[in-house]
Amino acid sequence: MVPLSWYIVLSAVMFSIGVFGFLARRNLLIIFISIELMLNSVNISLVAFSHYLQSMRGQILVFFVITVAAAEAAIGLAILIAYYKNNPTIKVDEINLLKG
């Protein structure tokens, strides 16, 4: 039997890698991907808790997290494309305008 703490440690390591990618990369697309990575690591811990506590709430919460992640990716990428039309760069240290 795999202990619960293994799943939580795996989730924590993946979350930290996502935090590093979010803070360190210049490419806005990779930053979005890092956010997805962090959301997925949280999902793993939620499903593990749901399994080990024999409760269904963790899985339902993962369902909603996936919904919100899909909405977030669609809106974020739409904003990215709208920005790119006016200023063709996706490097975050060169994005310094809100008005198009």
């Binding site: 803070l23 697309l29 990779i30 499903v47 339902i60 993962v62």
Partner: protein, 171 residues
């Protein structure tokens, strides 16, 4: 080590390696493809945890919809010239330090976590007798009905917002 532990060890090593590849590749297409491998591994882990519905959702929604969205955006933007410049920001050592400290803290705090003795009603046998979909559906449409409706509004806002943001200005 028993067989499930070996299985989990493979998944843990592969997922950590794929996560590191995602945040270190220069070409975003490579990152997205590593992400695809990671999502398939996560779906396998969900199957291992008796969450068949979520494993299917993970493949369909994440690998099928969100990653394709990322790939479309990468193809729409002409990123050829961006690959030649440096990929990390100037403060990346600080970011690496924050990541390592966060990982160490989380592992120290959560490394010995165990299950509470109060177990719920959804044991493996109970889920097997009804099926994973039916169990999830029953909880989703009774106890979590209002959040479910709110999620549909969130998706509607996402659709309208994406169309409004990405369309050409007409005036």
């Amino acid at each position: 080590m028993t067989t499930p532990q070996l299985f989990f060890a493979y998944f843990a090593v592969a997922m950590t390696a794929l996560s590191l590849l995602i945040v270190t590749r220069k070409n975003p297409v490579h990152s997205v493809l590593c992400m695809l491998g990671l999502f398939i591994h996560i779906a396998g882990l969900y199957l291992f945890l008796n969450a068949e519905f979520l494993a299917a959702i993970q493949i369909i929604v994440y690998a099928g919809a969100i990653l394709v969205l990322f790939l479309f955006v990468i193809m729409m933007l002409n990123l050829r010239k961006e690959e030649t410049v440096k990929k990390y920001q100037a403060q990346w050592p600080v970011s690496a330090g924050i990541g390592i400290i966060l990982a160490a803290f989380l592992v120290l705090i959560l490394g010995n976590i165990t299950v509470l003795p109060a177990l719920g009603e959804y044991s493996i046998e109970a889920i097997k007798s009804e099926g994973s979909m039916m169990t999830v559906g029953k909880v989703l449409y009774t106890e979590f009905l209002l959040p479910f409706e709110i999620a549909s509004i969130v998706l509607l806002v996402a659709i309208i917002g994406a169309v409004v943001l990405a369309k050409k200005r007409t005036e």
